[in-house]
Amino acid sequence: MKTKLTAMGVLLMAGTLTLSACGGSTASGGGTGSGGDAAGGLDGRGPITYVQGKDNANVVRPLIEKWNAEHPDEKVTFKEQTDLPDQQHDDLVQHFQAKDAGYDVVAVDLVWTAEFAAKGWLQPLKDKMAIDTAAMLPSTVEGASYNGTLYSAPQTSDGGILYYRKDLVPEAPKTWDEMMEMCSIAKANNMGCYAGQFKQYEGLTVNASEAINSANGSVLDKDGKPSLNTAEAEQGLGNLVEAFQNGNIPKEAITYQEEQGRQAFQDGKLLFHRNWPYVYNLATTEGSSQVKDKLGMTVLPGKDGPGASSLGGHNVGVSVYSKNKATALDFLKFMTSEETQRFYAIQGSLAPVNSALYDDAELVKKLPYLPVLKTSIENAVPRPVTPFYPAVTQAIQENSYAALKGEKPVDQALSDMQKSIEAAGAGS
């Protein structure tokens, strides 16, 4: 009997390890209003820390060295996170919840801005902390704002591009219907017509929102309430569903993330492909690429003209818990300056937010997709700006995936999406 009890004890221990592994952060959620924190340290100057995910393009360190040389009393330390967005997000959340004054300036993924702002963790960039956004593309500023207030400074941007085979397509399609008509060319050449990213993950949210926005619908209305029970939304998602059904989108595209789609396009298996700017370099330089000299680029097709891309990119924000906000603001301006953006574009192929840079001859020579990307970003719609983004993206992914697979009619999928987003917004 006693040994049995010991055995249970051991099991209990093993089980509890499981639990604690799942428990994650222990601090209770919910920041309260942060008037006090946001008002403090505005004039503070001194050493600060900059937090960002892995600096793959190796652009951050040279910039910080330059800054430190010019500001010996306000040195910046670089805290580098992992290169996984989810981990970066959770790391920021943990430090904000602990009210850590050691995270002064942080890089914020576009889709986290609303959440962090609503938690009261980001310093509103107004009054003393205001920055000049006149030179920036408006959609990037919109993506950095929450409830009409700017909470972070746009730094790099990203938008979708429609890649096509210019050897087969006489003229780039301007609308979705035009593109679908050209699918006969694909059939004649025994290849797939169109693909984006349709696996159930963040990329599907991007693609489904693009389809809905491009058909003049929207996921959320101006007040942040879901607005999916509309004919436009049905048309948008319906376009993708129909293309899956009639084979214009090959059935294997349901497993595509960015890389699988790029591979298929580079292997000459796709006529049209929606992806991010990074594809350009690989498709034109990789030895195995079949489309090196046949690569065309244009903006995403919409209903009557250019489609609405989902916006990507990173912003820079200041923590409300920072003690040296005056320095932080200077550094934030430095990090988002035109000069820095030019350096980012040349050194790291990171797309700028400053609209003038897209017309810069030197940059366009280096990154030929810039003119197309500019139009794409000008027409872009930020992914739903909401503090409940994780729940919203879950709702979009799951329901649109079911619709694309034909398990659910489009209107049903949209109304389930609507209800799920409402449930998330209702809080708990």
Binding site: G15, D90, K119, Q394, A426
Partner: protein, 345 residues
């Protein structure tokens, strides 16, 4: 695992030294025993404190959190406010698949919310567990029987079998993801065009195949250890008595290996109930491959307190399964090394 330790005034009942009564001395032996006990508790204290900080504190804190509401949005300011006490609402919501309704109160969770997936995730978790553990036990047994024989290159085989187990699960999952790709080796090999990760049953089988590949060696080694404890004389005696191979397996090998086998099955079952990496990487939880652990991780980003409730529920489910194993099926983690199976009860 990043667990915030924070100021944790953990009071473990055992961390204090037991009171030593310096009563009537006289016998030197008593004194020595007493001071030994004192020494022992001092030596154990750091371990117990450490366990208290890394195990007891997070668990207690998670349980406390699970009775709190998640932060809600104040529509006037657009800012989050702390949720306050929730009672058992979080648990009720999960078990009844209820979500907050726009006007207040709760409604059945619509498809597309995490709350609506609790019972399907539980079903999926148990489905994976039963199928993979059965497959792994049968295959593992077979592999163990082979490895237990004496043949040339046995050492090499034993080492080679361990390779899948030695590869981190996330890497395994990525490898299988490549192989299960539409243009991947598996479709090419069988000249098929199956959307392995893109439709329900293939996706489930993809997870099962990858999991079986990875963890069968673990079963095989545990069972092999059990097999090697069976004395060879027993087999010799039975051969002399004219027992057939099947009889030897059924009447000697199985009963004698049972203690080791049950422990192996128990460990695998508990492990399989926590399955996360494989389905997360292969399918992202799509096509009904969301396990309870995936649900917990997804929920963490949508609200800690609700996630704490879900992980407590998951823990209770796993604990219940472990209890059933130990209580009714005779898996015995502790006694196993003592006896060779005989006179166990």
């Amino acid at each position: 695992m990043a667990t915030e330790l924070g100021p944790a005034p953990v009071k473990s009942p055992a961390s204090g030294t037991p009171e030593v009564h310096h009563g009537p001395k006289g016998v030197g032996e008593d004194n020595r025993i007493l001071s030994q006990g004192k020494w022992a508790s001092w030596l154990l204290a750091p371990t117990i404190v450490a366990l208290g900080i890394v195990i007891v504190y997070p668990i207690v804190s998670a349980i406390i959190m699970s009775f709190q509401k998640d932060a809600g949005l104040d529509p006037a300011t657009g800012l989050f406010t702390a949720g306050g006490p929730a009672g058992i609402q979080n648990y009720v919501n999960w078990l009844g698949q209820q979500c907050a309704a726009p006007g207040g109160g709760t409604v059945a969770c619509p498809p597309g919310t995490l709350g609506g997936q609790f019972w399907t995730a539980t079903g999926t978790t148990f489905f994976f567990t039963v199928i993979t553990v059965v497959l792994e036990t049968v295959l593992g047994f077979w592999m163990a029987m082979i490895m237990a024989r004496t043949f040339k290159g046995r050492g090499l085989v034993r080492a080679a079998v361990l390779v899948p187990w030695a590869i981190p699960t996330a890497v395994t999952a990525q490898l299988w993801l490549f192989m299960f790709d539409f243009n991947g080796i598996i479709n090419k090999l069988f000249n098929a065009s199956i959307l392995w990760t893109g439709s329900e049953w293939p996706a489930k089988w993809a997870v099962i195949i990858a999991d079986t590949w990875k963890t069968t060696p673990f079963m095989a080694l545990l069972i092999l250890a059990g097999l090697q404890m069976i004395p060879a004389e027993v087999y010799e005696a039975s051969k002399v008595d004219g027992a057939s191979a099947w009889q030897r397996f059924r009447l000697i090998t199985l009963p004698l290996v049972k203690p080791a086998l049950m422990v192996a099955i128990l460990f695998r079952t508990l492990d399989a109930l926590r399955m996360f990496d494989l389905p997360y990487i292969l399918t992202g939880g799509a096509n009904n491959t969301t396990t309870l652990s995936i649900l917990v991780i997804n929920q963490i980003r949508q609200g800690f307190n609700s996630a704490a409730a879900l992980s407590t529920i998951t823990f209770l489910i796993i604990f219940l399964v472990a209890f059933i194993f130990v209580r009714f099926l005779g898996a015995n983690v502790v006694e196993q090394s003592g006896a060779t199976g005989k006179g166990k009860k």
